[in-house]
Symmetry: C2
Subunit: 394 residues, 2 copies
């Protein structure tokens, strides 16, 4: 029956992380693999209260079909928060609610990418984005990610022929690397986006999760007409609701709405009301501060353990926020080999290769510190170092 498959789906690989997460589900396993937020911080009681309030107040209206664009008071809340937190002026009408940021990536593929187009992506990049764009049979041009952000020299070269025009980035606490773009890098990037007339996708799911350092400018505020800004409540409130959003320039709005309508009519409108009620009745900043306090301690514990147990030729990023840290092994060491060695000791992580567009193995790997407590991080990183030693024959 394979003759029935479309060409496009034949070219999409299932997520490797999915396979890893099966291993990670073993309760014996210390997992640095997942990209999950820590469920201890999900506001179960407050959500319960919000469900009751919405159903008692709105009755059947809370359960009826609703507008494709999303629940207006929720979009108003998001617009208001951008103004307060980022000095970014957006109209609520520019905001479309999506099923998590992942659906926003799918809609971007639908509306902006033709078969054979090459999408500019960070190297390494978020694999869910690579997967979403691949469905539309795109290729990729991967732009090196330096400590301070995107390699603008390489980006300039890669856009010189005018062929690749859509650029996907995560400028804050990037997944997988944990890297954040400096202010200078953001301004330089905005300048390139403007002069080359690129379309920037600024994905910002982790932006609120800053432990140290200063908040940086949203690139959308520098080049609003050329930016699709993505946001999400999955990392700050709850992932199960699948509530993300796109901030769109006016010229893109109607096409994205048509694509969203064809995709699923609208996002679950009940939970949009529930989340909006939750946000109005609770202090999101205080909630996020509690998450940051714990994630920040766990990040510190991980860096401490890496310093203590790993040899000096292993390098790692020191993220100012988010959930991930990126580790670079000596070039001759295979992250897949380390993975296979480490799971024998009940510790796991995500090898780096699925985050690149062009390889089956790498000497890099991603470690997540969001869901593991400090003591367990110490044990897990020590086991990982032992596995590396065994692999290196030390």
């Amino acid at each position: 029956m394979e003759a029935f498959f479309s060409d496009r789906i034949s070219s999409v690989k299932p997520s490797f992380i999915r396979e890893i997460l099966k291993v990670a589900n073993d309760p014996q396993m210390i997992s640095f693999a997942g990209g999950l937020p820590n469920k201890d911080f999900f506001p179960v009681e407050a959500i319960n209260q919000a469900c009751q309030t919405v159903l008692m107040r709105d009755g059947g209206d809370a359960l009826q079909y609703a507008a494709t664009e999303g629940y207006l008071p929720l979009r108003q809340f998001i617009a208001q928060r951008y103004l307060q937190k980022n000095g970014l002026v957006v109209r609520p009408e520019q905001i479309i609610i999506t099923n998590g940021s992942q659906q926003a990536l799918d809609l971007i593929g639908k509306v902006l990418l033709n078969e054979g187009d090459e999408v500019l992506v960070e190297d390494p990049s978020y694999l869910g984005a690579l997967q979403a764009f691949s469905v539309y049979k795109t290729g990729f041009r991967a732009i090196r990610l330096n400590e301070d952000g995107l390699d603008l020299q390489q980006l300039a070269e890669a856009t010189d022929d005018g062929q690749a025009r859509v650029l996907y980035t995560i400028p804050n606490f990037q997944n997988p690397s944990g890297i954040s773009y400096s202010e200078a890098n953001r301004h330089g990037l905005a300048e390139l986006v403007r002069s080359r007339n690129l379309l920037l996708v600024e994905d910002n799911p982790y932006g609120d999760l800053r432990f140290t350092g200063e908040n940086k400018k949203l690139i959308a505020s520098l080049v609003p007409e050329n930016t699709v800004l993505l946001g999400s409540f999955s990392k700050t409130v709850v992932p199960a609701f699948r509530l993300g959003w796109m901030v769109l320039p006016e010229w893109l709005l109607s096409k994205v709405v048509v694509a969203k309508q064809a995709a699923d009519l609208h996002t679950n409108s009940f939970v949009q009301r529930v989340l909006c009620e939750y946000l109005q009745q609770n202090d999101l900043d205080a909630h996020v501060a509690r998450i940051c306090e714990v994630y920040g301690r766990q990040r510190a514990a991980m860096i401490r353990a890496l310093q203590n147990y790993f040899p000096a030729d292993v390098h790692y990023t020191q993220p100012e926020g988010g959930m991930f840290l990126w580790l670079t092994l000596p070039e001759q060491v295979s992250a897949m080999a380390l993975f296979n060695e480490a799971i024998k000791d009940n510790v796991c992580f995500v090898p780096g290769h699925p985050f690149y567009t062009d390889r089956d193995d790498s000497h890099t790997l991603r470690l997540s510190f969001s869901c593991v407590d400090e003591a367990t991080i110490d044990v897990g990183i020590r086991r990982l170092a032992d596995a590396l030693n065994r692999l290196s024959g030390v």
Copy 2:
């Protein structure tokens, strides 16, 4: 900035119904236009109870990221219900939870349709399906819908060249026509699907809403290897949750899961648990029976009013269930002209042309009886007849 748009999105038209619904929102308007279920039957209290139970019982687990395929106990419930109600044996693992049936249509487009493919559809067909498939730059071959189902002679001719192989149908209380396929038609169709090796999409959102007559066989039970069966809770419980599902033959499963994962990781897992709890604690059959009792009376009131007020050269279907009735005017009368005349009298409906693949006007129209009470139906149909008389110069 139009140069950024993909070819595919340029070819998709915004839904005409969306525009009509803006007119229909006027509180003075008697609307037979919407495709909405009647919100009086949404089980607000029971859903509230289910939310509380799930959150108190499952805590943070109810709010975490979840499996792409969907919540297993919900899929088990659906499988069990197919066995009881339809004698259809499916494994829960064959069921993928989607954001309403609409997302299932999008996934079918992604996984099964190439640019330039021609999809076999009923004539008229559900316009959300036409829109979803159009995104994948397909054409259409429209197959006449007779009183007893699909025109099998025409289907045989349309599939003779082996080029069009995916067939989209709504065999129960079709949207927009209200027509149901007879048992003989289903068997004939299944035979053609088998002999021509077609892939049948059997969309069944209204199947439970039967007022009169006998339940008919699911075509999926006749040709399971060649059928994707779609279901939805939007018409029987609540639409806001956006909970639909696909029953897939084994050979299609992994590709659809990959496409779903790339589209939005997974469907809202909190409401999957809530709906499952609701279904376990409440009697769905009794609930659906209450809906059918009222929809059935409203359908009868509409047919009575059509008999009383309309001339004999206006024809209409007499659906045994569902939410819609299809009206055929004399050939020279434009449904768009009638629409424009009728809204002056504050009554509206959906003109037939958006349900066809090839025209800008028609002498057919869709009337929905789900959300209008019997007395108002009488007033509305009378106004509609008056508008027709004015238009015909009677």
